[in-house]
Symmetry: C2
Subunit: 197 residues, 2 copies
């Protein structure tokens, strides 16, 4: 609209999730008008992250080095291993600050419809790991979607001979959630699994 390089910037900003034409224009104008050094710093951080962040060899989450800080941290409990679908899930659980074990990222969930089978996920590596290492509890924190549940059951079959305890995150009414907006599946489950106050 204004110049070729401006248009190019707006077009590229639109690859960011949740950013449409209007907000991309607003971002570009904001950076050009008042934040050029910050814009250049963002460009550099983006480029470095895209080029240098790799998959951790141990947990398959994101890492700057061969093995990520969470896998290297000596204060984490090796006896607890939490299996999640994506690195985003690792981040979500870390933000609760209530978990001190290790993680393992599958890279997705089983989905025959999308052609995603066990070979497309890091399931073989997970089985190998629980065979080699003293994991006492494997927490299957895959999603509560049909695919997430199926994936959890599949992994449970594969590891049950090698791990004592295989658990799943509690299901129920979310904190601060209002019953009337909850789907009846969740609400029914929560009613069945009710506990003493």
């Amino acid at each position: 609209m204004l110049t070729a390089k401006f248009d190019q910037l707006v077009k590229q900003l639109r690859i960011l999730p949740g950013v449409g034409q209007k907000s991309a224009q607003r971002m570009a104008l904001h950076l050009l008008t008042k934040k050029r050094p910050q814009g250049m710093a963002l460009a550099q951080a983006l480029d470095e992250a895209m080029r240098d962040i790799v998959e951790c060899q141990r947990c398959h989450s994101f890492s700057d080095d061969a093995v990520c800080p969470l896998c290297q941290d000596p204060r984490r409990d090796d006896a607890l291993l939490c299996v999640v679908e994506t690195a985003a899930d690792v981040m979500a659980i870390e933000q609760t600050a209530g978990y001190r074990g290790r993680y393992f990222v599958l890279g997705g969930h089983l989905s025959p419809i999308d052609g995603i089978s066990a070979d497309d996920l890091n399931i073989e590596q997970l089985v190998w790991r629980v065979k080699q290492e003293p994991v006492e509890e494997l927490i299957l924190a895959t999603g509560t979607t049909v695919e997430g549940q199926t994936t959890a059951h599949f992994i449970n079959e594969a590891v049950s001979r090698h791990v004592n305890k295989v658990t799943r995150l509690a299901q129920g009414v979310p904190m601060g959630g209002e019953l009337e907006y909850l789907d009846s599946m969740t609400l029914g489950q929560a009613m069945q699994n009710r506990s003493f106050l």
Copy 2:
């Protein structure tokens, strides 16, 4: 949270207007997981825009070269000159597709409270231009804020001896509203119904 380079990317993404911690994390994970080549293309577009986009020597809008495409376009009408506060306003008016004259960007509005006087804006260059060139109508499309109105009156005083017709955008632009956030319909209408100052 995950790695140093990831944290750095999230931190830098937050300089974008309207992007908080949560959406910056979501953006970073999205790019890393599925869009690395696009992320690198964004980094390059950002870097080039921050480094190479300059102020047009004629209209003071953004430009890749010394003189911008709008100033160079032989199909635009030299007799009409539209004065705006920022390059964002140029873009907003261009998107109405109802104006075929030239532009002049002041670089802001008069604001004694913020210490912005006529010397801080491109007012001298504007007066020089209407003295030298055959501008028949000067459209003062500064904002409808108190500062925008004051700026329009100030410019009117300065140019009235050199220009026949000094106009202002028609009522319809909401009071206190900023041009760049206005819908094109209203803005196009206001341009058509512009009136004498």
